[in-house]
Amino acid sequence: MSNKPLISVKDLSVHFGIRGGGFGKKPVVRAVEGVDLDIAPGSFFGLVGESGSGKTTLGRALLRAVPITRGKLTYQDEDVTYDLGTIEKQELKEYRSKAQLIFQDPYAALSPRMTVRDIIAEPLEVMGLTSSKEETDERVREIAEKCRLNLEHLRRFPHAFSGGQRQRISIARALVSKPHFVVADESVAALDVSIQADVLNLLKEIQQEMGLTFLFISHDLSVVAHVCDHVAVMYLGRLVETAPTRQLFAAPKHPYTKALLSAIPSLDPDDAGVAEKLEGEIPSPTNPPPGCKFQTRCRFAIDICRKDEPKLDHTGNEHNVACHRWEELME
């Protein structure tokens, strides 16, 4: 693998104007603010955060599915480089075949009136990637097999399938155009644990086999710990910490990451109540607090945290953290 990142993000912001607020200035939701991120080719990159942290918006920005307010976004594989900030029409269409999305809810994502074969074939037909029906069928069969769907399944409609099977159909559809980059947005959140493990293993298998790069968005840290090699933690539109997975879980540096980790209910009956509980809830992105965005819930907040917003610090070993006091807190 080359050292050049497949996806490179510099100072990315995505704002949405919303209705309401009465007179004067229109309220703006700062869903993503000043994010820097590199995703290496072939990596399984995890993005975690609570609801409202902007992780879905960031994922969609990388697919150019939402307009970008500010910043630079580059996609670069062996053949082409796209500047996703300015990309248009024909190039954007090409990019769509290289970057795909797997949705959260396998019940809502599949049209109930199309057969599984048609669902999987649709991206090929829309993007005009195949020249004949035979070729389309061939591609559909090939990917269906990889996703453990048999030929019998292809003739049926989605309602005949269970949650896990539906999610495999969604995966097949996302991968049929042979993308390089796939955003999986909470792709296992709607599944039962016994099925979840199966879908995670499948994603991992396919990723290695096809050499894909994944952005895996999830609120479930233990899932992320198992499948991802890199993790970025988001809070209120900002990245607060990024690191290789092992390192992040072994030695989290940001107080928010620590709190998130300790909030996971332990499976050990004797390990109760040691958790460092977070008070309160994530503030509204229309009206974020000044300074560090986490200061309203942070036990360690001091004056500087309430005034200045911390930048993402490089602490070595690809471990970055945005906290004024992380060094003191490590002691």
């Binding site: 644990v193 909030a263 509980k277």
Partner: protein, 351 residues
């Protein structure tokens, strides 16, 4: 503490266009006052309808089995829930002695009525409080569950509250009638982990203060470990294992429970690959004969598993499992993995 709830031979079927579907098949359990029971299982395992049966709250096409008997033990004597017919009679168990918290707090509040009006309405139905007393108690309850500025929140509508706050308001509302039994159906599933931790703490405190029994329905074993005293595992409408949380988690006996635990991502074992339970849950229309788990079981021992429904075997006084394999293992003269006998010998469940 005394007995609170007895569920015996609960069988529940639904009449549908595609035939009669068995949702719950011969399930029995009991709950003491002040005890928290976790009911675990995948979607479609029948855990929600089991809990709703306790309030007779299932849809009109529900058909209860003949031998089904659900008894709620109140101070003024036992209530036979299956014999309650009119909605007037059912008020005792719907919001009176039993409260229910749903998974989705947004959907459980009426959007156009203020939180306060909804709270006082149900108090006036179930108690003989007047409006003023009901309001005072409601505000006190909101305050109790950690909602700041409770009197302002009292006047607000559900959409004005955040998810965590809504779930707390829901809990406050459910507890304001001082129920004897609380049924919590996936109360933390829609919440973020940090908020989930807050809600779990809150519920633990409330059990202590109010001394009620809780049936906690969830698919998340981690949540069960942190909240419940005992756990019952359901699969496709049948109870496959039940016992104290500690024992079931540490030494699961049923292959399904073992699979469920192995499938959970564990932060302490990142090197161990996730073990999925092969296959999918069969549709309730195609319930497998014999042990309901036999289609996905890796240790099924042939004919017996596919033809004979396993009955509960006692591993010890409080831990039971419905599996032929375990039963045969235990029947052998020198059981290799005999569980350490716990000290308690209190009321083993009849089965």
């Amino acid at each position: 503490m005394g007995k609170l709830l007895d569920v015996e031979n609960l069988t529940l079927q639904f009449d549908t266009d595609e035939g009669r579907i068995t949702a719950v098949d011969n399930v029995s359990f009991s709950l003491d006052a002040g005890e928290v029971m976790g009911l675990v299982g995948e979607s479609g395992s029948g855990k929600s309808v089991t809990a709703k049966s306790v309030m007779k709250l299932n849809a009109k096409n529900a058909v209860y089995g003949d031998k089904t008997k659900i008894t709620l033990h109140l101070e003024d004597g036992p209530v036979d829930i299956m014999s309650l017919q009119t909605s007037k009679e059912l008020q005792v168990v719907r919001g009176g002695a039993i409260s229910l918290i749903f998974q989705e707090p947004m959907a459980s509040f009426a959007p156009a009525i203020s939180i306060g009006d909804q709270m006082t309405e149900q108090l006036q139905i179930h108690t003989d409080m007047n409006n003023k007393q009901a309001k005072e108690l409601s505000i006190e309850m909101l305050d109790r569950v950690g909602i700041s500025d409770a009197s302002t929140r009292f006047r607000q509508f559900a959409f004005e509250l955040s998810g965590g706050m809504r779930q707390r308001a829901m809990i406050a509302m459910a507890l304001s009638t001082k129920p004897k039994l609380l049924i919590a159906d996936e109360p933390t599933t829609a919440l973020d982990v940090t908020i989930q931790a807050q809600v779990i703490d809150l519920m633990k405190d409330l059990v202590k203060d109010f001394g009620m029994g809780i049936i906690f329905i969830t698919h998340d074993l981690g949540v069960i470990v942190q909240t419940a005293d005992k756990v019952a595992v359901m699969y496709l409408g049948r109870l496959v294992e039940q016992g104290p949380v500690r024992e079931v988690i540490r030494t699961p006996a049923h292959p399904y429970t073992k699979g469920l635990i192995a499938a959970l991502p564990d932060l302490d074992k990142l090197d161990v690959p996730l073990a999925a339970i092969p296959g999918d849950i069969p549709s309730p229309l195609e319930r497998p004969p014999g042990c309901v788990f036999n289609t996905r079981c890796s240790v099924a021992i042939g004919e017996r598993c596919t033809s004979e429904i396993p009955m509960f075997t006692k591993i010890d006084d409080v831990h039971q499992v419905a599996c032929h394999l375990v039963e045969e293992d235990l029947a052998k003269p020198a059981p290799k993995a005999a569980k350490t006998k716990p000290k308690s010998k209190s009321g083993g469940k009849s089965k």
